[in-house]
């Protein structure tokens, strides 16, 4: 039997571990594939990921752009999530990064010592990123959280004590609820941002409005990552989904879902069932997260007529606002038809205009570059 796992983040790694354990006796083989150059997904990028079990073949630098190239008996999709970016004047300036984006760049070698940084957007990631950057020498000027205190307090009251301790550890006096960036100023690089009625000079802006599941691969395989049975199985009994591709719920939920999917794929349902109680608990955390950090409607009003919404094709807000659907917008403006294939502007136009995403088509990534291949590499 061949079990293939796509995504080597917390969910994919947990799935690989439990699948390898589950199939150790039967001699099946487990392959873990990731587009990145190392395992660990978003949170353990640049270190901290658990060791890969023996009996698991890893295939890195390998993005699955089309399902036709995959052969498997059981497939676990653990493709995780990306950041949500919302357009506002100045957001295309160099020096404006995603919140997790700037953290990733620092993890991979960027020195932020003495850089003045504004962290903004929403969600627990903001405090984590600000803490990470501060520990690496950055001068954090502001943490602008769009959610109001009232919601944050309600969220805090429902947190398990371990999460409370984490929040205390990450706490920063620059944290400002009900605050959001309305503009970034600069000509060739960001020089300042406007937030909460003030203009704040800075070298970098790190801004992310929460996370969006990477559902393109499940969609291409005609399975719904939100419609799963208790074993994380999709409507196709050979395909499982685990982690943030199924919805945003944090690293603990991702690990638990990965473990369940791995055991279930290997046929060890008893071991899988042992994680059900934990999964229920972390799912409640996910629900509380979504309520606390729901986006305020004002954020849909930040773009000006000449603000680019689609950064690949430089399509402005005014070119889009009168359109009826994303399909119509694409036909008239090429919005979403550049190399990111709508991964950045798609979730943004959904929030701005309520447009539902279009169907996805292979290949999922433009593949001219030699920095990654599809399924060309030999497992290590």
């Amino acid at each position: 039997m061949k079990i293939v796992i796509v995504g080597a983040g917390p969910a994919g790694l947990a799935a690989a571990r439990s699948a390898a354990e589950g199939v150790a006796r039967s001699g099946a083989d487990v392959t873990l594939i990731d587009g990145n150059h190392s395992t660990g997904g978003q949170i353990w990028r640049g270190g901290g990921a658990p060791e890969i079990e023996t009996g698991v073949a890893t295939l890195l630098n390998t993005r699955v752009a089309s399902p036709d190239l995959l052969t498997f008996d059981k497939l676990i999709l653990a493709t995780g999530a990306r950041e949500l970016f919302l357009p506002f004047p100045g957001w295309t300036l160099p020096g404006v990064f995603g919140a997790g984006g700037l953290q990733a760049l620092v993890k991979e070698g960027l020195d932020v010592r003495n850089k003045r940084v504004v962290v903004a957007g929403t969600g627990p990631l903001l405090l984590a990123v600000a803490h990470y950057l501060k520990t690496h020498g950055a001068d954090i000027r502001l943490i602008a959280e769009q959610a109001p205190w009232s919601k944050l307090i309600r969220f805090g009251a429902a947190l398990p004590s371990r999460k409370w301790l984490e929040a205390l550890r990450l706490w920063n006096p620059c944290f400002s609820p009900s605050t959001w960036v309305t503009e970034a100023q600069g000509t060739t690089h960001v020089k300042s941002v406007s937030a909460g009625g003030k203009k704040i000079p800075c070298d970098y802006l790190a801004i992310g409005y929460g996370l969006v599941p990477n559902t393109e691969l499940p969609q291409l395989m005609k399975v719904d990552p939100c419609a799963l049975d208790e074993y994380q199985r999709t409507s196709n009994p050979a395909i499982f989904c685990a982690g943030e591709v199924t919805g945003i719920g944090g690293v603990d939920l991702s690990i638990v879902e990965g473990s369940i999917a791995g055991y279930a794929a290997a046929g060890d349902v008893e071991k899988a069932r042992a994680f059900f109680v934990q999964r229920d608990r972390w799912k409640r955390f996910g629900t509380a997260l979504a309520e606390a950090f729901a986006l305020r409607p004002e954020l849909a009003q930040l773009a000006r007529p000449d603000t680019f919404v689609c950064r690949c094709e430089d399509v402005t807000y005014q070119e889009l606002v009168a359109k009826a659907s994303w399909r119509e917008a694409k036909i008239h403006s090429r919005c979403g038809m550049g190399p990111c294939q709508g991964r950045v502007c798609g979730p943004a136009v959904e929030f701005l205009f309520g447009w539902k995403p279009d169907s996805v088509r292979p290949p999922l990534f433009p593949t001219p570059s030699g920095s990654f291949s599809m399924i060309g590499n030999e497992p290590q």
Binding site: G35, N36, P94, G95, F97, L102, A104, E108, R311
Partner: protein
Amino acid sequence: MPEITIDGRRVTVREQTSVAAAILQAGVSSFRRSVTGEPRAALCGMGICYECRVTIDGEPHALSCQTLCVDGMVVETT
């Protein structure tokens, strides 16, 4: 430690440094020009946005955030 060339300038970086981080570290702020000519730089840091495209060893449109620096590498921004 790998030594790479960015726009004709030699820079030494730590092991496991991505090309995107090296470009920023070298003080270059524009990675590429957008279709209307605006300067653009890395945004997502995770291979999603395609804003960090540069030419690496003669290959155009390579994602600098997904590529690690290797000794002797030649990187060109626009």
